[in-house]
């Protein structure tokens, strides 16, 4: 049933990254008074294309794009368990203010943490990786 639902779901008309780039470009070019109007039109466009159902991915892409334009990078920090604030602070100290840090618990890691910068560079300290290395 799930498979059927997945296959029947409509494909996105444009990619989240394309939406994010075009919105950020429009906002950068617009006057200060016009920005709200642009945001309204953007939401209207999403409704028209039907891609509003993918809002979570699009908003994520917009945040990433904003971070990149400010000179930072989106950083995802996965840990086997929820990290306490002191540990989060220790890890955050390694990154600049412009970076957008996102902490996420991931029990699949078993233990340790995994840091992904810019969506494609990974530093993996997880126990899961060590186990994979041992048995593959």
């Amino acid at each position: 049933m799930n498979k059927l639902f997945r296959n029947s779901r409509k494909r996105m008309r444009y990619k989240p990254k394309e939406y994010a780039e075009s919105l950020m470009d429009s906002l950068a070019e617009a006057d200060a008074g016009n920005k709200e109007e642009i945001l309204k039109r953007f939401v209207k466009l999403l409704r028209k294309t039907g891609d509003v159902v993918y809002w979570r991915q699009i908003s994520e892409a917009i945040s990433d794009e904003e971070t990149k334009r400010k000179g930072g990078a989106p950083v995802s920090i996965e840990s086997a368990r929820e990290l306490d604030e002191s540990r989060k602070a220790v890890i955050s100290a390694f990154f600049s203010k412009e970076d957008r840090l996102k902490f996420k618990p991931n029990p699949d890691l078993v233990a340790g943490i995994r840091i992904t910068v810019g969506g494609s560079n990974v530093l993996d300290f997880s126990f899961e990786k060590k186990l994979r290395g041992l048995f593959s």
Partner: protein, 512 residues
């Protein structure tokens, strides 16, 4: 025993070193039908082997990188596609797909990734084993030599009129149920008789029924041919990716033997199904469809595969790889897309016809439409001597046969020509799994073309043939058969011996 295992694991853990470092990675964004789309991994190369770290799988799942787009990658999953999920990570291997080829593969049935699937256990490691790339550039002009030595199929009609040379690409084409696979299997069986220079065989089954593959394996085993044959199997139940890779795996194994200086024969059964598998992959990858929905590079797919068949120069070891691709036509339509492509790529074709098959002419080879572009350069002198007239006389016979349907009275000469044509057609009939060594083919064809069988009734030609071969085997083995086999020719002395043997046998045969 369990203690030993524990100690072994302990040792592995003690010796395990892991130095975390920055790695490039990508994320699966879409998956379905054996195809996955991913984002990231910007440094990946086309056709690179990618590993998917799936949470549901114990190990990494291999995938092949097909499409490199601006913001995404398209991967063809080579393992269990069901275990891959959106969000799984992917990593580069830095390698392109290869198969570990060695002589240990002989007698085994493997999948396109070289894993044994015959239930006889893993393939034993071999010192001489080599990783052969599935996608490899064909030998260049300078590395090649012209095709000169014959590859005997053991089928009289082929060896006499459509000779195949070692390093040639000869297409076997015909409708379903016309005996295409039987011709190819007979060619494999006949290699048992090639004592001077053995030929290693690779049979690639693409999209075939498992029952058919099992039957072929049994057939080869029973006839002692499996020991020099490798079977690469991608049955109809396997994924389109596996079916697409199978011929390339077969070519890679064949190249291993060729590079060792040996001769190899690879049979692709069949390229129509291979094209269909590639079409399926291409459509799922959203590549633009062309004629008959095949992608634009369908010609290149087969040309780069078949171009790998070659006869290497002496400097390169002198090995050869002969390719016998099979293509299935629909209702005899040779002008369809894939058949015309493969006809233009290969060095000739053996055309099998349903009407001939149902008339009882087996193998159902249409001699008029079949051709070998290598020609008599790839024929032993003995066969060349006896078969030169055969093709011409058969062509004349076919023309006359069509003409006499309208004529009521025929002159003696025409009647004689028709009778000889019928005799030749009968002589060229041959049972399945009964390939003949070239010396035996030569003596039979000598008897037919030399007029020694003109007075034999058509219904008794088969009997004459079998008994004559038995007679020669028993009475004139050394002076006739061995002499032809040794020299490869029918010299004056052997010819005289053969003539006297024929006369002697005819006297016995006519008495019965």
């Amino acid at each position: 025993m369990s203690r030993e295992i524990i100690e072994k694991i302990k040792k592995e853990i003690e010796g395990f070193k892991d130095k975390p470092q920055w790695e490039e990675t990508g994320i699966i964004s879409e998956v379905g039908d054996g195809i996955a789309r991913a984002i990231g991994l910007y440094g990946a190369l086309s056709q690179e082997l990618i590993y998917i770290e799936s949470a549901g799988s114990s190990g990494d799942i291999p995938a092949l990188l097909f499409n490199l787009e601006e913001s995404s990658l398209s991967l063809v999953i080579l393992g269990e596609g069901d275990e891959v999920k959106v969000g799984d990570r992917i990593k580069k291997s830095g390698k392109v797909l290869s198969i570990n080829a060695s002589e240990k593969l002989l007698g085994r049935v493997v999948d396109p990734l070289g894993r044994a699937i015959d239930g006889k256990g893993i393939i034993a490691p071999d010192e001489k084993a080599k990783d052969m790339l599935l996608e490899k550039k064909a030998p260049s002009v300078m590395e090649r030599e012209s095709v000169g030595s014959p590859l005997h199929t053991g089928i009289k009609a082929i060896d006499a009129m459509i000779p195949i040379g070692r390093g040639q690409r000869e297409l076997i084409i015909g409708d379903r149920q016309t005996g295409k696979t039987a011709v190819a299997i007979d060619a494999i069986l006949n290699q048992k008789q090639e004592e001077d220079r053995p030929v290693f065989c690779i049979y690639v089954a693409v999209g075939q029924k498992n029952s058919k593959i099992a039957k072929i394996v049994k057939n080869l085993e029973e006839n002692g041919a499996l020991k020099y044959t490798v079977i690469v199997s991608a049955p109809a139940s396997s994924s389109a990716a596996m079916q697409y890779l199978a011929p390339f795996a077969g070519a890679a194994i064949g190249e291993y033997f060729m590079e060792q200086g040996s001769d190899a024969l690879v049979i692709y059964d069949d390229l129509s199904k291979h094209a269909d598998a590639y079409r399926q992959l291409s459509l799922l990858l959203r590549r633009p469809p062309g004629r008959e929905a095949y992608p634009g590079d369908i010609f290149y797919l087969h040309s780069r595969l078949l171009e790998r068949a070659a006869k290497l120069s002496k400097e390169k070891g002198g090995g050869s790889l002969t390719a016998l691709p099979i293509v299935e036509t629909k209702l005899g339509d040779v002008s369809a897309y894939v058949p015309t492509n493969v006809i233009s790529i290969t060095d000739g074709q053996i055309y099998l016809e349903s009407s001939l098959f149902y008339q009882g002419i087996r193998p159902a080879i249409n001699v008029g439409l079949s051709v070998s572009r290598v020609g008599s350069a790839a024929q032993t002198k003995a066969i060349k001597k006896v078969a030169s007239k055969l093709r011409l006389e058969l062509a004349q016979f076919r023309e006359l046969k069509a003409f006499v349907q309208f004529a009521s009275e025929l002159d003696e000469n025409t009647k004689k020509q028709i009778k000889r044509g019928e005799l030749f057609t009968e002589v060229l009939k041959q049972g399945e799994k009964k390939p003949l060594s070239f010396d035996k083919e030569a003596v039979i064809l000598y008897a037919a073309t030399g007029g020694f069988m003109d007075d034999i009734e058509i219904s008794k030609v088969g009997e004459f043939e079998n008994k004559f071969l038995d007679f020669l085997d028993a009475m004139h083995r050394k002076t006739v058969l061995d002499a032809i086999r040794k020299s490869g020719a029918i010299d004056e002395k052997t010819e005289a011996n053969l003539k006297s043997a024929l006369e002697e046998f005819k006297a016995i045969f006519s008495k019965k």
